[in-house]
Amino acid sequence: MRKLKQSLLSFFERLGEAILALLETIGAFSIFAGQTFRYCFVPPFDFRNLLYQMSEIGVKSIPVGVVSSFFVGMVMALQLGGPMEQQIQGISAFMGGGISLAMVRELAPVLTSVLLAGRVGSSIAAEVGTMKVTEQIDALATLATNPVHYLSVPRFLAALFCIPMITVMAIVVGILGGALISNISLDIPYNLYFESARTLVRTKDLVSGVSKTFFFGAEIALIACFSGFRARGGAEGVGQATIQAVVFSFMMIIVSDYFITYIFQLFGL
């Protein structure tokens, strides 16, 4: 009985500590995010650095995003065509609309963001984390340069601009992938496919799908920079920070996708 009581007590103690640590992290993250927003509007504006980050984060991610999306479009056509046609004759005439709608509203935004969370989030966290544990971030501060301003702002802005743009490319290419396989293996003519896409997908779908990715881009960059800044204790700490950044941004993308979509729907998007 006494033993039970003790182990219960220590369980609650540890639970309490874990909750406190979580709250502390959330608080620190909010402060960090707030600082990043604020410094976006504080001079000096480092355009050289921003362009560099846009090429690192954006341009170099295009192949990953586009190729993956093309294959997702293809596999959707492959998976849906047969079963749908078996149920209802002629339904595959709507293939173009189905694939395009899924691509525009959900698949391309989430897929692109998750891929970039892996590619970009890990590299940001590793780079910033290495700078932290080798005192380069302290060195920045002694050179009268705010580290959040110098490191976080350009990465944040680059992710904010680039991820929606890559999403748009992914949408286009994904729809094309679907068209290709619909034509080859289901004999759906291209004009029928695109006609159906045009009737089903409306502007508001595009607005909804693409504007989500602004949030995802912000999440990826902020979580990755934050993890890097909190890294401590050498190479192992950098590894931890990197894993943490990737796992948390995956989770945040999926979770926030639901809530953002829910809120968008309230506004008729």
């Binding site: 080798t134 380069q136 302290d138 060195a139 501060a141 002694t142 050179l143 009268a144």
Partner: protein
Amino acid sequence: MAEVHIRLENLCKSFGAKHVLRGVNLDIYRGEILYIIGKSGSGKSVTLKNIAALMRPDSGRVLIDGLDIHALAEAELNQLRRKMGVLFQMAALFDSMSVFENVAFAPRRFTKMGEDELRALVQQKLELVGLRNVEHLNPSALSQGMQKRVGLARAIALDPEIVLYDEPTTGVDPILAAAVDDLIRTLNAKTGVTSIVISHDINSVFRTAHRVAMLYDGVFRLVGTPADFRNSDDPVVRQFIDGSAHGPIPIL
């Protein structure tokens, strides 16, 4: 030499249950070379980071020119930091940039120099620390000693009034170490810069210091000239200076 440039007032700093600084008091005069010595883990780097405002003390103040630097707003602190150079223990060069970009970092941000002027400035600072034709290299291509010298060139790029050196001669061969000591003295004599140097190297200390402060058990055990240290009969000071494993200082 009597004007106080930097004043440490009752600095305390703990990490968890570990009390690293327990009330550090020291006046550092304008234009002097002050060495801080003490065994590994005694809090030398922590003291330096408090002076550079990289770490906040739990209590106590750091006054530079009479200003409490931990109470300054960010803009004022950054103004002050342009007049302070810091050489880190591991050099802390930006490894995504060339040597040139490292040394040019602060001048590029805070002066209106053109590329030609920058090039000339960087070359001059690098030559001052005994390096030539390394501008295009990446920091990872340099030896530890060279990295430290580039770090020093970066720290003095804006001609600061204060330079903080964290172990400038550790990991540097004896001839280079002597050269670095000369450099600290030359810089001090030429520009009247106030220098705070952390060192383990007793030879360097006696060769270069105007004054020495020994950190022990969270406070300065002795502050004085090199001669004061040579003549001290405090067993703790003696043991450190003689470099003996036996004495009152616990090894672990």
